[in-house]
Symmetry: C3
Subunit: 361 residues, 3 copies
C-alpha cells in the first residue's frame, strides 16, 4: 500500500498551482465545471470515444486532456508521472474505482487523491462496510442464516452480484428452493421495502461552523433517487412473475440516471446524525477517517425507519442533478454550490492555507 | 374560539418590526430562508433534537430560538407571551397543525397566524372539506353507500384513517367482504387511478394584477408529487397481493418526501380556475376566506379529468423543492421566489402598507 | 406544398423587427419567456379560455394576442395575414402540429416557421420516421410479422393508435389471439422494457464550436421523463390484469406532465452520436434537414442499449422543466438558457446576421 508519507512528499513539490484531474466519465462534467467556478485548472483523462462529450460542454471542458485507450491505463507509469508533473489532485468517482480497481488504487496509484484512500478497503468489502455502518448506529437490512428463516422479501446474492446479475428474489423458503439451483455460496438479505433516498454529504476537517462532526463539519449537499433499469418500469404492464420468467425477462437494477427529490424535514435530524456517526466511526476505524464527499444509500420504511444499505465514500453521480446547487446547499452557501464545486473549494482553501495534506491521500 | 378582534388588538402593538416564527419542522428551513431574503427576523420554536438541523444550514438559521420539549408546548402561556412580545406572526404548516391540533389552535393559540384560522375547521373536517370542494366545481372521488355498489378500485376508510393504517383496498364486493371483518363504521370511496399532482397556490388580497380571484390575485407557485412509502416501490418485485399478505406487508401511504414536476400546459386553465373557485367559495363559506399559501391535491385521469381529493389550507412540504423558485414562479417574479419567501414578502408588504390584519388571523 | 421561395420572399419584407409567435398551449409560457429574455417581441395566438393563463404569468405574457375560437383557425387567411404583417416567425410545438395538422401546415400555412417544415412529412409518418432513425444508426423496437413470433412483451397497435386507445399488449401468441378480436390491420411491435429518457437537443447551422454536426453544432439542452396517466400509477394496488379488466380499467399512456432527470454520464457519447447522426441523415433525406429543437424519445435497457422509439422534430413539453436552464445547458451557456430562450437567441442572431432564411421554412 502506498503510504501517506509518499503522497505528502509528492504534495510538497506541488506548490500553490494544484490542478484537479479525473477520468472523463461519471461526474466529470460537474467536477470540471466546479473547478472552473473556483478558478482551478483541470485535466481530463479520457478515451477517444468520450472526449467529444467534454468538448460539447465548453464550461465543463478541461484545460488539458490526457488521452488513454482504456481507463485502466491511468495506472501506467507515464500517465502517473504526467499527472504528478502537472500538480494533479485526482478526484476519485465511481467509474474510477470500478475501472481501475480498489486494490490497484491503494497499491499502485501514486497520484494524490482527494479524500483518504484507506476508505477503499472499508467501502469495497461488504462485511467491513456492514461493520462500519452498524457501529455508526445505522439500521442495516437483516441477514438470514438459513432459507427456513425467510419470512419477508429477500435478495439472495451470489459472490460478485451486481446490477442485473448474480442474485434472485424470494419471498419464502419455497421460492428459495425453487430458484437456488446448485449454488452453495450465497447471502440471504432482507429486501427492505420503502422509499429510496441517496443522501449526498460532504465532510470537511477545515471548516467548523455548522453541523459539528469529527474535527470539522458535515454538510448536507443534496439527495437523489437512482433510476434503475428495468426494475423501475417493469411494472407498467402488470405481467406476473411467471409470465416474465417465460419471456426470459430478468429483473435488474442497472443504474441509468438520477431523479431529484427532497426529504420530509422531520427526518433530517436522524439523517444528519447518521452522517455524523459514520464520520466519527470512520475516524476510529481508519484514522483520519473518511474525508470529502460521500453518500448514504437508504430505504425509508412506512414506520420512518431509515435503513442504510450501502455507503459510497466519494462523489456519487446523483450529484450531477445539482450543478448550480441543490435545495439543501442553497441553505448553506450564498453562491451556487455543486458537490464538484465544493470539492474544488476545499482543495483551493487547503492549498491556500497549506493544509492540502489534511484532505488528500 | 379566539376572535379576530383579539388578534387585531395584538397586532396593533406590533408596529413595523414584525418577526416570522414557526415550528422547526416541515418547511421551516424554507420559511426562515425566505424571511431572511426579505429582510425579516425569524424565531424558531424547536425541540432540542431538531435544533442542530437548523444550525446546520446557516442561511436558514433563525435569529432566535424558543426551546420546547414537545411541539404541543407551543400552547403554553409563557411561550405564547414570548412570541407576542417579540411581535411574532406564526406561519402554520402541516406539522404545526398535526402536533398542536386544529381545535387547540382555533381556541387557545393567541398569537397571530398568517392566513385565516377559520379555515382549520373546514380543512380538518372531511365532510366540510368535501362540501367546499364540490361547491368550487371540483370533481371529487365518488362515495359509495353499499359494498354491492363497488364497481371499481375503492379505499375503505375507518374513522381516523391515515398514512398506513385504518383502511383497506377492494376492487369488488367479494374483496370487501373478505376484508371488512367486524368493522361497522367506514367510508367507501373511489380510488381514482391516474397521475398525482399537488398544486401550490398563493392567494393574496393585497395585489391585483395577474390572475384575478376574490378581491386579489391567485399565483401558481409550483407543483410536486409526494413520495409515499411503501406504496411507491412495492411493485418492484411483482409480488402478488396474496404473497404480500402472507409476508404481512401492508400497503401504506406515508409521505417521506417530494418530487418536482411540471404539468401539461393545456391543463393550466382548468387548474387555475379550480384554484380561483376554491378561493371564491371560501369567501362565501367563511369570510374573508382562505388567505396565503394553499395546495390542491389531485389525480389526473387518462381522460384528463382533474380529481381533487384533498386541500391543504397552508404551506405544504412539496414547496421545499423550490427554495429559489419553481418553473412557474419564475414566470411571475423577477427574483427567486419560494413559497417561504412569498409569505415573508406578503407580511412585509402588509406591514409597510398597514394591512397586516388583512392577511392574518 | 408551400415552397421555400415563398417563405423567403415573405422574410425579405420582415426587416430586423422579427417577432416570435406561437399558439398559447404546450410550451408557450417558456417560448414567450425566452423571447422576452432575448429582447424579442411576442404574439400569443389564443382561445378565450387559455388567455387568462398567459395573463397570470407576467414574465411570460405576450405583448400581443391574436384571439381565435379554436386552434385550427390559425389557418384562416386573416390570421395568417396578421401574423405576416407583424413579422412573425411561428414556433411550432406539439399542440400546433396536433391541432392544425401536419398536412395543413405544409400546404396552407404561409407564415415562416422556425425550422424546416419538410420535417413534418418525415416525423408524422411512422414508416418514414422508422427509416430515418434506422439510417441514423438508432436501435428501434423490433417489429414482428406474425403473432406466432411473439416471444416478449409487445404492443399491438391499430391504425391511429394514440395515448390510451387503439392498442393492446400481449406477451405471447395466446394473449394475442385472446385480444385481437376481428381486427385485421395491426402492427406488432416489441415493447422494450427499461428506463425512459427523452433527450432535448438543439441543432444550429449558425454556430460551430462545440459538438460538430451537419454544418453546425449540436447542443444537449436537457432531458426528462413523461408522466403518463394511468400507466405510471396503476401498479399502486397490485391488481391483477384480470381484476383490472373486470373493473374495465384500461392501461393508457396519456401524457400529463414531465419529471426532470439526469443521465449516467458514460451514456452521453452514444446519445450525442445518435443526435448527430439523426441530423446528418436528415440532411440527406430532406435537405437542409432538421433545424432547431428536437427530441429523441428512448428506452434504456439493463444492457445499456438505447432504443429510440420516436423523434419529435420540434420543441417538446419536457423542456418546460427548465425555464432557467437544465443541468446540461448550464455547462454550455454562461446564462440561464431554456429551449425557449435558445430558440429566440437563434432567431435574433439569424436576424442580425441576415441568415434568417437558414433557420426557417
Amino acid at each position: 500500500m502506498i503510504t501517506k508519507k509518499q503522497i505528502d512528499d509528492t504534495l510538497e513539490n506541488y506548490g500553490k498551482e494544484v490542478r484537479i484531474a479525473t477520468l472523463c466519465s461519471h461526474s466529470a462534467l460537474q467536477i470540471f465545471h466546479g473547478a472552473k467556478q473556483e478558478g482551478l485548472k483541470t485535466i481530463g483523462i479520457t478515451t477517444p470515444r468520450s472526449k467529444p462529450v467534454y468538448d460539447a460542454f465548453p464550461l465543463s471542458k478541461p484545460e488539458d486532456y490526457i488521452m488513454i485507450n482504456e481507463y485502466k491505463d491511468v495506472l501506467n507509469k507515464e500517465i502517473q508521472e504526467q499527472l504528478i508533473e502537472k500538480n494533479a489532485v485526482v478526484v476519485p468517482h465511481g467509474s474510477f474505482v470500478e475501472y481501475v480497481g480498489a486494490k490497484n488504487i491503494e497499491n499502485k496509484f501514486k497520484v494524490p487523491l482527494l479524500g483518504n484512500r484507506k476508505v477503499l478497503e472499508w467501502e469495497s468489502d461488504r462485511e467491513k462496510e456492514r461493520e462500519w455502518l452498524k457501529k455508526a448506529g445505522c439500521k442495516v437490512p437483516r441477514r438470514f442464516k438459513k432459507p427456513s428463516e425467510i419470512d419477508r422479501p429477500c435478495l439472495i446474492k451470489f459472490p460478485g452480484a451486481k446490477g442485473g446479475k448474480g442474485f434472485f428474489v424470494a419471498i419464502n423458503e419455497d421460492e428459495f428452493n425453487e430458484k437456488i439451483g446448485s449454488h452453495k455460496d450465497y447471502i440471504i438479505q432482507e429486501f427492505v421495502i420503502g422509499a429510496r433516498y441517496y443522501f449526498h454529504f460532504f465532510y470537511t476537517p477545515l471548516f467548523h461552523e455548522g453541523y459539528q462532526a469529527g474535527e470539522g463539519r458535515l454538510e448536507m449537499l443534496g439527495m437523489d433517487r437512482r433510476i434503475e433499469s428495468n426494475i423501475d418500469e417493469l411494472h407498467r404492464f402488470g405481467f406476473t412473475r411467471k409470465e416474465l420468467d417465460t419471456a426470459k425477462i430478468r429483473r435488474s437494477f442497472v443504474v441509468t440516471g438520477n431523479l431529484p427529490m427532497t426529504l420530509r424535514e422531520s427526518l433530517l435530524p436522524e439523517v444528519l446524525e447518521r452522517g455524523k456517526e459514520v464520520i466519527e466511526t470512520s475516524r476510529k476505524l481508519f484514522s483520519p477517517g473518511m474525508l470529502g464527499p460521500f453518500c448514504l444509500e437508504t430505504i425509508i420504511t412506512p414506520d420512518l425507519d431509515i435503513y442504510v444499505f450501502e455507503i459510497s465514500a466519494r462523489i456519487v453521480a446523483g450529484t450531477n442533478l445539482y450543478p448550480s446547487g441543490s435545495q439543501y446547499s442553497q441553505y448553506i452557501f450564498n453562491k451556487s454550490m455543486s458537490t464538484g464545486r465544493r470539492i474544488a473549494h476545499e482543495i483551493r482553501h487547503a492549498t491556500r492555507t497549506e493544509q492540502l495534506e489534511k484532505v488528500t491521500f
